[in-house]
Each structure stands twice: as C-alpha cells, then as structure tokens.
Amino acid sequence: MKYLPAIIVLALVWTAVLWVFLSFEPMEATGRPHTEVTFATPQGSTGVAMMQGGDGGLRHEHIVVPGLLLGCSMIAMFCMMLFWVCRTKHADPDSAGYFWNLMVMVVLVYVGAFILLCTTYQMSWLEPTEPDYLGPFPMATSLMFLGMYGVPLGFVVLYVLFFEDRILPQAALKEFREIVQAAKAADAAEQEAS
C-alpha cells in the first residue's frame, strides 16, 4: 500500500509510452529537411542543416491524448519524488497542512499549465501562420516558458521557506552530529584494537 502511488505513476508513464509506440506515425512526424535552406557540399551534393516541422495537426493528430497523458504522468512522477523526500519525522506538525497545501497547489498549476499549453497549441492549427502572441512568442510557446519553466519555481520558493522545517530541521542536524561523533569514536576504537 505504501508503494501504491509510485506503482500507479510508473504504470501511467508506461501506458502513455506504449500508447505512443502503438499509435500510427505519419510521414515526417518528427520534421523534414528544409529544402530551401541548402548549401553545396565539396562533394558536389546538397547539404541541409535546418529542419521544418510541416503541418502540426497532421503530425500530431494520432498522439493528442497519449501525448497529454505522457506529459501529465511525467509531471506526476517528478512531483511525487519531491513529495516523497519532504516527509520527515522532525517536521513541525502545526505547519504540515499549510506546507502540503502549497505543494499540491504548485502541482495543480504545473499540470494545468501543461494542459493549457497543449490545448493552446492545438487551437493554433486553425490558423498556423497567424498565431496569437503572448509576449514575444506565439501563445503556446510563451505558456511553455511560463508553465514548464516558471511554475516549478514555486517548489524553489517552498524549498527555501520550509528548509528548516522539511528539508533539514535543526533536530535532524543535531542528530546527525551525534551520528558522526559516534561513527568517529567507533572508528578510533576499531583502529586502536587492530
């Protein structure tokens, strides 16, 4: 039962991966050489060092749901790891609810941002050459920066704010000093005996 969340998350990631693997893959799903940006090679042939994506709808239509599941389950895996190491016997029980609520909030915003980025991207298929801009980039790309880079900064803030409560409480540090002293004393005794 203790390991159930980890098993579920792993199962979700695998389901998504296998779903993707079993989905139909259109030609040029992962890009094609840019035929207009070419150069002549010394051997006389034509070289290309730039790729094009082509039609976003065509190349993604078979993986909309498994892709979404893959992204969400990956985020779940990352966040589960953070949750897992924040459990400590030395934490202040009074602030526990507050801390976990904040963590859950960041996770929800993180997942929400990913879903929003995917749906915004799908909406751009209607008029691909004239996307809406948010800041300097097309909206879905800006959401990628704000959501996938920006939101996890919430965990950074929580790490700093709750460091002494959740990561390294003073009581744990004191206990560690005692462990080191005991280990050194045992080492010294062993050396003396040998």
């Binding site: 390991y3 980890a6 792993l10 695998w14 991966v17 993707v20 693997f21 799903a29 992962t30 890009g31 094609r32 840019h34 940006v37 070419t38 150069f39 730039m50 790729m51 094009q52 994506g53 976003g56 993604h60 993986i63 893959l70 990956m74 895996m77 790891m81 953070l82 897992w84 190491v85 924040c86 030395h90 980025l117 991207y121 751009s124 050459t129 800041g135 300097p136 980039f137 097309p138 879905a140 790309t141 959401l143 990628m144 920066f145 996938m148 880079y149 920006g150 996890p152 965990f155 950074v156 790490y159 700093v160 460091f163 990561i167 390294l168 744990a172 206990e175 560690f176 462990i179 080191v180």
Partner: protein, 494 residues
C-alpha cells in the same frame, strides 16, 4: 574596430588562457592530497558552489550545441533548457542534503565511493565507476569537439594563425590536460565561478544584441521563423511533441545523475548552504540559457530572411557565426572567452571524476590495495582519458548537442536510480542497483549501436532511463533489503 575583430577575439581568448594557467598554478599550490584533488577539501562556499553547479550544467554542450539545435529544429531544443527549474528542484530536494551528509559521515573522494558506502558493496561502486568512465569519455569528447570547432573557426579568420582542424583537437586536448593536471577540481570550481559570471553577463548582452540584429527583436525573429514554418516556433518545434517530452524527461530527471554536477553538492563547507544554492543555481542557469535561446533563434531568423549571406554548413556553427558577424568585437571576445571557460571547467570536472574512477574506484572495486602515489596516478590517468576522449570526438560524426545528450543519457541511466532514489530509500538494495545499471546501459547501448529509432523519435536515453527506473524499483520491492551499516542506516532516517 571591425578590421581588428579576429585579433580582438583572439586576444580575449589568449588572456583567458593565461588566467586559466594562473588559476591552475594557484590551485596546484592548494592541492596537497587526493581529497583536495577530487573534492576540493570540502571547503567550498555557498556562492562558489552554486555558480559551479549551474555552470557545469551549461557546458560547451549548451554554448555551442544549444544554439545549433535551435537553428536546426526551432523550439524543440527549448525543452532541454526549460526542464532545469524542475530538474534542479529534484536534484536539490533529493540529493542536496543527502549527499552532503554522506560526504561528512564517510568522507568519500568520489561518487562511486559514496555509492559503495551506501550499498555496502564495492561491486556496485565499481559499476558506477565504469558507467562514469563511459559517460566521461563521451561527454568530454563533446567538450573537446566544441572547443576545437570554435578554435578552428576563430583561427581561420586570422591569416597567420590559420590551423587545420586536427591541430585544433591537439591544442584543445593539450590545454585541457595541462589545466586539469595542475589544478584538479579546485581549478575547475574557480574557473566555473569565472565562467558563471561571464556567462550571465554575456547572455544578457547577447540577448540585447540579437534583439538589435533582427527588426522587431524577439517577436521579429518569431515572426520570420513562423512565416517560414509555423511549427518551428510552436512549443514542440520541428521534432514534435513526443520527442520534446522525452527530452524533458531525460534532462529533468537526468540532472540528478550528472556526476560532475552532483559531486559539487558534496564539496560545500556547510550543510545548510544548500538552502540558498538552489535558487542561485536556478537563476544563474535561467539567465545563461538566454544565450542558447537568443543566438539560436537569431541565426535561424537571419538565414531565413536572407540577412546572413549563406546558410550554415553545420548547425554547430550557429554560435560562432553569430559572434563573428553580428556581435561587437569586445562582446564576441568576452563570449568566446566565456565559451572556453565553460568548456574547460566542465571538461576539467570530467577529467577529474574520470581519473578518480580509474585510479581510485575501480582498483577498490576489484579489491586491490589503494595505489601508492594516488595523486600522481590520477594526473597520469587524466592525460589518458583526455587523449581517448579527443580521439572519440574527432572520429564521431555527430553534432555537439546530440553527442552531449548521449553523454548526459549514459550518466542519467546509470546514476539516477542508484543515487537519487537509492540514497533516499532504505529498501533499495545492491541487487536492484546492479541489475538496473547493467540493464539500463545495455538497453541504451543496444538501441544506440543498432540505430533503432523509437516511434515519434522518443529519445533512446529517456526510454532506457524509464527501463532502468522500473527495474530498480521492482527488483528492490521483490528482493530483501540489505543490512546497512549502523551510521548509514541512521543518516538515511534523517
């Protein structure tokens, strides 16, 4: 000033090399033991370590390979950058405290040393050392390749200094070896500091320059790229969604497996320093990543709108072409110096952990007595590894960025489960550790060497890491936990 551009750039690099030699010699005076050579005596301050953490993550791979990948595939490669906020969180939450506690308790001189202590198994430590050596050769090859490519480009523009590419490889290896043999990890960390500062300043200046190069700034670049190919500017770029998500997975989780980054967490003076190191490292990396993004976008845009004379012959030339043709000579000089700093400090870290694996960890794993003059042998091993990596870099045909992802993947596959998970989970045992490392690396080698392309270009490293994580977890669940040493057991409870 334009007519002296090449000379100015060359001058900056020369000055930087002299600074490196000075740092190397200064560090040599502070290196008295293997502990100093490999662990900087565990006396590093918070700021130095934070900068070292982010700047070793952003190496030649980020400086040369990153912009090249944006040029090649548009926004796809952004997924290798934006993962770093969650990646560093995972690294610090899981390992920031834990590795430092292990370092103080058992005083390991390398990561495999700590692994041996955790699993009470020399074999597991040895296996980690083998994985580290494999990754080091590849990743170091990336650094040498990046350094040689850039040096070649710069020297080509100076009539009297024009040098064939092969000689650029020889020069790059020689400089690295001298620098690393003299200074060890102390030199690396302090060069990381110089590099970090240069990178952050240069990244901001480069961003401004790119914005001035293309009409309309960043949005102007986005519009030019969108007109040519809307997908290249949408979030999944030209590689597509699944490929990008697999990059996100391997890079975010994989940062916990980068030995040159996580060993730095063992070198701090105070355990509590990790509290402020996380925000500093994330902020530093975020700023430095501007360089990756802005140069890549700018070069793609100027080639597409025909401002740049000819298309690039190789995507890896994006950074050097931008600096040569669009940046102010002084800025170009500073960035090139920063680039060399990035490459040298990361390469130094690799040479360091590689030589530790060769002269310290592997002999221990085979039950041999410690080498008599370990420090001297470490320096000899450094030379051997540099030559090996140089040869690999020269003969490998891959792009810098893709070779970088390969090195990153090898580390991630082998080290993430046994260190990031294993150091926090008492139930993890040596059978799980050994099985997962062997199967993960075998899977990756099998996929890579037989050139099997996974559907939708799901990255082979990401797939192998998923396999290794699953095997590690499942095997640990179904096999009995090992009895841990009393002190290790107690520390894992904290």
């Amino acid at each position: 000033m334009e007519e002296y551009r090449s000379g100015i750039i060359f001058g900056f690099i020369l000055v930087y090399m002299l600074i490196c030699i000075a740092v190397g010699l200064w560090a040599m005076r502070r290196t008295h033991s293997t502990k100093d050579f490999f662990m900087a005596g565990r006396h590093l301050g918070m700021i130095v370590t934070s900068v070292a953490v982010f700047s070793s993550t952003m190496s030649g791979f980020g400086f040369v390979g990153g912009p090249g990948l944006v040029y090649l595939a548009g926004t796809s490669s952004f997924w290798m950058v934006i993962n770093m906020s969650i990646g560093m969180c995972i690294m610090f939450f899981l390992l920031g405290k834990r590795l430092r506690l292990f370092a103080e308790l058992r005083e390991p001189v390398s990561l495999p040393d700590a692994v041996s202590a955790r699993y009470n198994s020399r074999f597991t430590g040895g296996l980690t050392a083998v994985a580290i050596l494999l990754g080091v050769i590849t990743y170091l090859g990336v650094q040498i390749k990046a350094m040689s490519v850039v040096l070649f480009q710069i020297l080509q523009d100076i009539a009297w200094a024009s040098t064939p590419l092969q000689w650029c490889y020889v020069i790059s290896c020689a400089v690295l070896v001298f620098y690393c043999v003299t200074g060890g990890i102390i030199a690396s960390v302090y060069t990381d500091l110089i590099q970090g500062v240069i990178m952050v300043v240069a990244a901001v200046l480069v961003l401004l320059t790119t914005m001035a190069t293309v009409d309309g700034g960043l949005q102007g670049m986005a519009e030019v790229i969108t007109r040519d190919d809307p997908e290249a500017m949408q979030p999944w770029g030209t590689f597509g969604m699944i490929s990008c998500l697999s990059f996100y997975f391997i890079m975010a989780l994989g940062v916990c497996g980068q030995p040159h980054v996580i060993t730095k967490l063992m070198m701090t003076k105070n355990i509590s320093d990790t509290r402020h190191m996380l925000p500093m490292s994330v902020a530093g990396y975020g700023l430095a990543a501007l360089l990756w993004i802005s140069i890549g976008l700018c070069m793609r845009a100027v080639v597409l709108n025909a401002t740049h004379g000819t298309p690039l012959l190789n995507a890896d030339q994006a950074a050097s072409e931008f600096l040569t043709y669009y940046a102010h000579p002084v800025l170009a000089g500073v960035v090139f110096a920063g680039l060399f700093a990035a490459i040298m400090s990361t390469a130094d870290s690799f040479l360091n952990i590689g030589s530790a694996a060769l002269v310290h960890d592997l002999p221990q794993a085979f039950g041999m007595t410690p080498l008599k003059h370990e420090l001297r042998w470490a320096r000899i091993a450094t030379v051997a590894i540099a030559v090996g990596a140089g040869l690999l870099a020269y003969y490998a045909g891959e792009m810098v960025a893709m070779l970088g992802v390969m090195g990153w993947s090898i580390f991630a596959i082998a080290i993430v489960p046994i260190v990031a998970i294993g150091f926090n989970w008492k139930r993890a045992n040596r059978i799980a550790a050994n099985t997962s490392v062997i199967s993960g690396l075998a899977c990756y080698a099998g996929l890579y060497l037989t050139d099997i392309r996974l559907p939708y270009n799901f990255h082979q490293g990401a797939f192998s890491m998923l396999i290794t994580l699953t095997i590690f977890f499942m095997v640990a669940l179904v096999t009995p936990a090992n009895r841990l040493d009393k002190d290790i057991d107690a520390v894992m409870d904290l």
